[in-house]
């Protein structure tokens, strides 16, 4: 009897798709086991057969922090509102490393996963989203750096820390949105692969990672803040260092991200049916 019930509820209709839909959330839930396993596979494989293993997750941001401190902190003496440069840059470099790496992986996800795309059906949205989750492991590990630096500078936790989860979610939404958009474009235009690497190198300067956001003239503040990276970095800085949260720098970015996420999902769903034919 149970089997018959199961049969009744799984009726799939196939017809040429048209129109705009965001995403089939029920289907995504149905495939959550697969989603988990794909993320787990990416994580496990990344450092397989390496000696240092997950220590690499620390090495990358750590070297960036050191270089920034020497170049921008000592040599160029960029003002950082009185915060020691090491602290200033590390709370920004950690989320930036996560965002840049997951954006790159996510945008190539459909192409690297071609073999599966061609032979198996599962919700295609899983492809770009896998990169967003698997890089969180690296992010988690690199938080150790923040912990050590925080202890060294004797930063006391404030109530702002409660807002950190919000900013972490915000931080994850950016590579999700960018990844969804770029992966569907990358299927047709291989230029995306080169464009994203180029863009990432430029984007690091559009967010207040090496410099302080106060240096931006007031007139341009809104336009500057439309870049969601600004919102994430400022939010992280405020939460972890106990400063007041500069909401005017944050909410424009949240709107942009929400917009990109929704339009990205719509475009992805519409293009989904031709991925296999065009890749």
């Amino acid at each position: 009897m149970r089997e018959a019930d199961l049969r009744e509820e799984c009726v799939k209709v196939i017809r040429p798709e048209s129109g705009w839909r965001i995403a089939d959330f029920r289907e995504l839930r149905e495939y959550r086991d697969l989603f988990f396993f794909l993320v787990w596979r990416d994580v496990k494989v990344l450092y397989a057969q390496t000696i240092l293993g997950f220590a690499w997750a620390i090495l990358n941001p750590l070297t960036q922090i050191v270089i920034f401190t020497i170049v921008f902190g000592r040599l160029a003496r960029i003002s950082t509102d009185g915060i020691p440069y090491v602290l200033f840059s590390s709370v920004a470099v950690i989320p930036w490393t996560y965002m840049s790496e997951s954006m790159i992986i996510s945008s190539q996800s459909l192409i690297t996963g071609q073999a599966m795309l061609d032979k198996i059906y599962f919700p295609r949205l899983i492809f770009p989203l896998t990169g967003v989750l698997s890089k969180m492991v690296d992010f988690g590990i690199s938080l150790i750096i923040l912990l050590c630096i925080g202890v060294y500078y004797r930063i006391t936790p404030t109530w702002n820390l409660l807002l950190l989860p919000l900013f972490i979610v915000f931080m994850m939404c950016i590579p999700a949105a960018v990844g969804i958009w770029l992966s569907s474009l990358a299927v047709r235009f291989r230029d995306v692969k080169f464009a994203i690497q180029f863009a990432v190198r430029m984007l690091i300067y559009t967010a207040p990672i090496v410099y302080s956001a106060q240096s931006i003239p007031g007139a341009y503040r809104i336009i500057y803040s439309l870049n969601p990276l600004v919102g994430v970095i400022e939010g992280f800085r405020a939460c972890l260092l106990g400063l007041s949260v500069p909401w005017p720098y944050i909410w424009p970015g949240m709107i942009t991200t929400a917009f990109l996420l929704v339009t990205g999902a719509l475009y992805f769903k519409r293009m989904e049916r031709i991925f296999v034919d065009v890749i």
């Binding site: 799939k12 017809r15 396993f37 057969q49 198996i120 235009f189 296999v276």
Partner: protein, 452 residues
């Protein structure tokens, strides 16, 4: 025929593709440069056109049969219904649209037109070992592959031991898969797939991998799946597997359904009307024919007992394999011979022309037709590939040697008077001779002298 509780309903499914067109060739640098400058726009339009078929659809629905030259319909107006529990084979030449149809039914690609409805959980096996990652262990890959194929984690947990023992790699289950031999990988991958319990199973020629022993295991497992009331859709070139497993078959040709009916009939149509493997190969052009210093091959043909050229031979009846060749330099003793290979690549036997009319006789110029008569009830079921060879004796030289010149299928229609008798299961053996048996019987209690 198509009722509401059918497992699969397919109505007028069509899919077209745009194939690449020749690049413009320039004869001036100016033209080439301008084209290069224009190319970002042209490339964009070209990529966009890959999935826009508006003009093709408009023409097609208005009944105009002239299509733009770069559009091909991989699947065209295919309709059929499959009831729950039916095991159906899909056959056709390469390029007939079988794999595309399966991809549409598995939702990997979407149809250009039409409608399909599948009732029940669908598991598709279009390739064995999809998602296998070499760095992960066998255990990890079983979970990964299982969830990729649609199982829940709990289900994989439940069946894990069974899967591992079916594959035979228990000892190595915790080693990274990159250390496995290719045979082990295939066995593990198929083992996961074999333990799926979907309502609808869609299989595409995966049985083309693995050794004969394993293939036997897989076929039996699929047979079980069919017997337990699941609906199975099976695409294969192996006619033997199709007739054994499927009650019904659908023949596709150039994207359209050519025949839909009992599998023996449909396989017959496929083999007899010149589709599929070739029972005849001819070389009308002397310059292109296989040739040596003394003779040249003109044709190789397979005929049944009645002389009809056919791919499908009845296992009980004689098979005639003939070689037509032209001798242009007289004075040699020739030895026509055929080698027969089965589906596993094993050389089953070799026959040599010992026709007393020409044996040890020096051949004059002319065209010869040498026919070999292979007795019925000797060959085994399956496909046989024929290699045609002609050599001279003293000195021993090869005039021509054509591997896989022709091929044919030996089919047992299970009427009871072939060598398998009443046995309907898997009948092994590279040959299947029908031999005479005699039995002596003594009832218990009688003395030895009373044996009948």
């Amino acid at each position: 025929m198509v009722s509401d509780d059918s497992a699969i309903i397919v109505k007028n499914i069509s899919k077209c593709y745009r194939i690449g067109s020749k690049e413009n060739i320039h004869d001036s640098i100016g033209g080439a440069m301008i084209d290069f400058l224009k190319s970002p726009f042209k490339n964009y339009r070209k990529y966009r056109s890959l999935y826009r078929f508006d003009e093709a659809e408009r023409l097609s629905s208005s009944g105009d049969t002239n299509q733009p030259s770069d559009i091909i319909w991989a699947v065209h107006d295919v309709s059929f219904g499959i009831k729950q529990g039916e095991v159906v084979g899909i056959i056709g030449r390469n390029g007939a649209g079988k794999s595309t149809l399966l991809k549409i039914l598995c939702r990997i690609t979407s149809p250009t037109r039409g409608y399909a409805r599948l009732r029940g959980r669908v598991s598709s096996l279009l390739e064995v070992g999809t998602g296998f990652h070499p760095e992960l262990t066998g255990r990890d890959n079983v979970y990964l592959n299982g969830t990729i194929l649609g199982m829940r984690k709990k289900e994989v947990d439940r069946k894990f031991d069974e899967i591992v023992s079916f594959s035979g790699v228990e000892k190595f289950i915790d080693t990274p898969v990159k250390r496995y031999s290719s045979g082990m990988k295939v066995r593990l991958a198929f083992s996961v797939a074999a333990h799926l319990e979907p309502e609808i199973l869609v299989v595409d020629e995966v049985l083309a991998v693995g050794d004969a022993d394993f293939q036997k295991k897989c076929l039996n497992k699929m047979h079980d799946v069919g017997r337990r009331g699941r609906t199975v859709l099976f695409v294969s070139h192996n006619m033997q597997a199709i007739t054994r497993l499927c009650e019904r078959a659908i023949l596709l040709d150039e994207g359209k359904v050519l025949k839909d009916g009992p599998s023996h009939q449909v396989v017959s149509v496929y083999l007899n009307s010149g589709y599929g493997t070739m029972a005849i190969r001819e070389w009308p052009d002397p310059d292109k024919a296989p040739c040596g210093e003394i003779a040249r091959l003109c044709a190789v043909r397979v005929r049944n007992e009645d002389g009809v050229i056919t791919d499908a031979l009845d296992i009980r009846r004689h098979v005639k394999v003939e070689m037509e060749y032209e001798v242009f330099r007289p004075g040699s003793i020739l030895l026509p011979n055929f080698h027969f290979y089965n589906e596993d690549g094993l050389e089953v036997f070799v026959i040599v022309d010992l026709d007393p009319a020409w044996r040890r006789r020096k051949r004059p110029k002319g065209t010869y037709l040498s026919t070999a008569l292979i007795p019925g009830n000797f060959l085994s079921e399956g496909t046989l590939f024929v290699r045609a060879n002609l050599c001279t004796l003293a000195p021993q030289t090869i005039q021509f040697d054509v591997p896989s010149a022709v091929a044919f299928q030996v089919i047992d229609s299970l009427d009871g008077d072939s060598a398998r008798g009443d046995f309907a299961g898997w009948f092994p053996g590279v040959v299947r001779p029908l031999v005479e048996w005699s039995t002596r019987f003594r009832q218990n209690g009688e003395s030895a002298n009373d044996i009948v």
